[in-house]
Amino acid sequence: MNYRLNYLEELEAEAVFVLRETYAQFQHPCILFSGGKDSIVLTHLAAKAFAPGPIPFDLLHIDTGHNFPETLAFRDELTSRLKVNLRVGKVADSISRRTAQEERGPNANRNRAQSITLLECMESFVFDAAIGGGRRDEEKARAKERFFSHRDAFGQWDPKNQGPELWHLLNGRKHEGEHFRVFPISNWTELDVWEYILKEGIALPSLYFAHDRTCVIRKNSILAQSPFLVPHETDEIQDLKVRFRTIGDMTISGAMESNALTVEEIILELKEMNQSERGNRADDYRSESSMEDRKKEGYF
């Protein structure tokens, strides 16, 4: 017997440890569920961490209203199969309460407004920890995230004043009204996530695999044509075979041309391709530090 774990087993053991610490240290945690692969993997890990019992967390979906129909169908099927409680926070409700504002301008989206809806949900459902699928390899501003990441009473992140995290002693103590974001798959890369999906046979929304779609070509991005997308003069409409690399709000999730129909083919494609995961997300490229600025305000 070889008493060593391979890298996927070690990452899994670490993520399960963090999920169990979250359960033990907080009163009412939720899993931030977007319908994207990272939150699906997170939910899968939670199911394993607490087996044979149910997942002891609610799923929270922050709904921008601009959904792929496939994502909603997948979400509803998964929550009923795992018998977890689904909570939905609608950005439209925040806008009608006037706590959030609809963005204007040619690239308007509901990305920033999402942070407001999330914080409102944390308060109204009395969640004290939100478990997210954020990974440190995604973006430079995320490279310094902790497993247990403190948020003040306004939901803000202070990157210069984060508590140190040593060994695997996680400190989830907080004051009334504050909460934590928890990132159990911090140490995973995009490729690790795919390798794990393959190993575990995890089901994903069909959007992740190559399919025919009418797309809008805008600058370097391929976006799904939808009623939510405000047309630009320079847009080009094309029928393409594409798949999505990240899935979120329909107006900003960038597609890529691909023929990959299976997880194995996606892994092969990723190994050959040389483009970063969020490279075609319309929201990250507004400025060199836009992710960091949004995170400080309470973004995912």
């Binding site: 391979n6 033990a24 607490f50 140190p164 040593l166 002693l169």
Partner: protein
């Protein structure tokens, strides 16, 4: 099963001046780990700065404030993988005031890269970094003598630095030291072998990282299982299920093994082990499992399961090495929460035995204060016994943090010796 690709966690200590960010950038760039769009972004910024080559350090310098200041102010984690290994880099700043970040990065590392500027040789900060690495019991030190291009790739120069490093490191507690002459800027001996130093017969940095042995680092002798939380299910298809969730911190446990629950004298047997893919016959570190016992015992979070014939030390007062992490200085007489594995107890620092001067590494026995970045040996009392091993024997059960009850801040990291 595919080949056993494992994980190596390493830390890099050094300052911007040593070319640390450039080294990591070089490692990632030459091993083709940087996506094309990021390369283009860095190309644009490099041009804007008036450079004709890529500024490799831009691949790693993360936060806005740091980019403005040109220094690294916090631990940042980077990832890359080769066919052999997945690597997790804890990139920590090297400045004097950031000892605490180095300690943080080193706490999870299997190996440490120490960077030396070939023009400057072994400096005070080299000694400090190596000292911290030995204090945190990092098994492998990889000393990279950087900027060899600026000393004409001269072998004598390199040999002198190696000799002076060995001279002081003999006093440290380090298992394995390797020296590599490199130029991060030019790429010599980082990923590719260099034509410029035919006198060097050793491995490149990447090759060294791929082959460092981590197999003997997990303690496989002393079974320690701190309970994260009990699992009790008694409804639907699962009737009367009681188990304890946790991570095996060290040692091996098998179904049928006799187990003792600490604190206390209760003994039971392992009835079943649930792993991530169903029932297991045995489990080992660092697996996350649930353990079922044959008897119904009162076991809660913070308790530790061990074998009756292999027990940790039960301590109420002990001395430990502390690194003070907080910008708020230590307040004499103040009670803190000590967190050890999954257990929390109140604690009081009875006395400060000595504080290291991190510049000279001399002991100051007269100091009565602990400020951020201080390393000190202290005497602690805890309100309830904790079950520990020495840090040298077992990192997981020999380490702890101190939390300020009022601010909830992690104020110190400790190691029991």
């Amino acid at each position: 099963m595919k080949e056993r690709k494992d994980i190596l966690r390493f830390t890099t200590a050094g300052s911007v001046d040593d070319g640390k960010s450039t080294l990591i950038g070089r490692l990632l760039y030459d091993s083709h780990q940087i996506p094309q769009d990021q390369i283009e972004l860095v190309q644009q910024i490099s041009q804007r700065k008036g450079l004709d080559t890529l500024d490799l350090s831009l691949f790693t310098d993360g936060l806005k404030d740091e980019r403005a200041q040109g220094i690294t102010i916090d631990v940042a984690y980077r990832y890359f993988a080769t066919e052999k290994r997945k690597f997790i880099i804890a990139d920590t700043p090297g400045h004097l005031q950031y000892t605490r970040n180095m300690v943080t990065g080193a706490s999870t590392a299997n190996a440490a890269i120490i960077l030396i500027d070939a023009r400057k040789g072994v400096l005070e900060q080299t000694r400090r970094h190596s000292f911290i690495a030995s204090l945190l019991q990092i098994q492998h030190l990889i000393v990279c003598v950087n900027k060899m291009d600026l000393v004409n790739y001269n072998q004598d120069h390199f040999d002198q630095i190696v000799a002076s490093f060995l001279d002081f490191s003999a006093k440290l507690d380090i298992v394995d030291v390797q020296f590599i002459p490199i130029s991060a800027l030019m790429g010599d001996h980082v990923v590719h072998r260099s034509e410029n130093m035919p006198w060097y017969q050793g491995a490149t940095l990447l090759h060294t990282l791929e082959h460092v042995s981590v197999a003997n680092e997990v303690n496989q002798i002393d079974f320690r299982f701190p309970v994260q939380h009990p699992i009790r299910i008694d409804h639907g298809s699962v009737q009367d299920y009681r188990a304890y969730a946790g991570k095996v911190e060290s040692g091996i446990v098998r179904v049928g093994d006799e187990i003792q629950v600490l604190p206390g004298k209760h003994v039971s047997k392992v009835k079943a082990i649930k792993g991530m893919n169903g029932d297991l016959e045995e489990a080992f570190a660092p697996q996350s499992i649930s353990l079922e016992l044959t008897d119904e015992l009162d076991v809660s979070r913070g308790d530790v399961l061990v074998k009756p014939n292999n027990q940790p030390l039960e301590l109420r007062q002990f001395s430990a090495m502390l690194c003070w992490m907080s910008t708020e200085s230590y307040v004499p007489g103040r009670k803190y929460i000590l967190r050890h594995t999954t257990k929390e107890v109140k604690t009081l620092i009875k006395s400060i035995l000595y504080v290291y001067d991190v510049q000279t590494l001399k002991r100051d026995e007269s100091s009565l204060v602990l400020n951020a970045n201080d390393l000190a040996r202290v005497e602690l009392h805890v309100a309830a016994p904790i079950f520990v091993d020495s840090y040298r024997k077992n990192k997981a059960t020999g380490s702890f943090i101190l939390i300020d009850e009022q601010s909830n801040e992690t104020v110190a990291a400790g190691m029991i010796s």
